[in-house]
Symmetry: C2
Subunit: 159 residues, 2 copies
DNA sequence: TGGATCGTTTGTGTAGGACAAACCATTAAT
DNA sequence: ATTAATGGTTTGTCCTACACAAACGATCCA
């Protein structure tokens, strides 16, 4: 009733498609990531940390929607490889501020490069431009969600 | 070197984002789908079957990238609820042609409707138009992949 | 007739991840 | 100052998804 004369068809649900495509991607990614000593969920954590530029473990747990105890294990893996660094927060010494190390940044780049072939295979139905659009949409959606999850993040006043 | 004067920045990798967003969606979907007696992977199977309009179990296994034995269990669940139907293929009586029943179609619609709130929450960072674009991209990508997987599908000559 | 294929059943193993309990260090409230 | 609450960690238990193998019946094909 607003303005557009668009056909009022039922909105498409992309949950199942998202799941399906994600699964295809993840399955193939595992073999590519293995030589780097990474698993798909490590890559997610690294990616999120890079996008955030650091986070407390609690916030990270919220964003990843993982149980806190499992986040500990995940970060232990990454810290053992010197990919992340846990520093005590100066404002609240109970907190750990988790950040990517230089090694982590570099490995993340290498991993993403290695995944190029996988993406080419899974997203073969899309043009380069469409893939970029897809990336933008996914990025925008996840970022907004993260902001939602990060209600009252006193940790980082810039948030 | 083709034509476009686009800035030549490293292409963005959306594997991790895809995984991340998919996880968020799946976690929330579970509670919504539970009252309907469905799990996320059931919904994927139903969705794929609807998009395909029927398939042999083998092809379905390829598309879902699942082990054949696990597909059997998945279909057993769905058949027990009368959501799908297994018919013997007339051309090759070893094969089962799997198709949605009317009940299945209706339940799938109901499930998608129930998932509207979940999508609204997870995709709150996107406008309606952007969500539609996302759907189109995901649909296009999965369909192409399915065609790839379905090499020489003698089952359905129309393919 | 014999070998290959589709689907099915059963069983085994592994991994992800949820959850709970107990602990330490630290902060905040009284 | 004592107490309660919080962030992180460890340990241990449990469940589910899934891959994988083996064996079977039915069917197709050479």
């Amino acid at each position: 009733m607003t303005s557009l004369p668009v056909v009022n068809q039922p909105p498409h649900r992309c949950g199942a498609l998202l799941d399906h495509l994600s699964r295809r991607m993840r399955l193939r990614s595992e073999s590519v990531l293995a030589p780097l000593g990474l698993r798909p969920r490590h890559l997610i954590a690294l990616t999120v940390l890079r996008d955030l530029g650091g986070s407390s473990q609690q916030d990270l747990a919220k964003i990843l929607e993982m149980d806190g105890t499992n986040v500990v294990g995940l970060l232990n893996d990454l810290e053992a490889e010197n990919l992340i660094e846990r520093r005590r927060s100066p404002v609240d010494r109970r907190r750990h501020v988790v950040e990517l190390t230089d090694v982590g940044v570099k490995l993340l780049v290498r991993a993403e490069f290695a995944l190029a072939a996988v993406e080419d295979e899974v997203l073969c139905g899309l043009t380069g431009e469409q893939r970029e659009t897809l990336y933008e949409l996914l990025h925008q959606a996840t970022n907004k969600s993260e902001v939602e999850a990060c209600t009252e993040a006193v940790t980082r006043p810039t948030c």
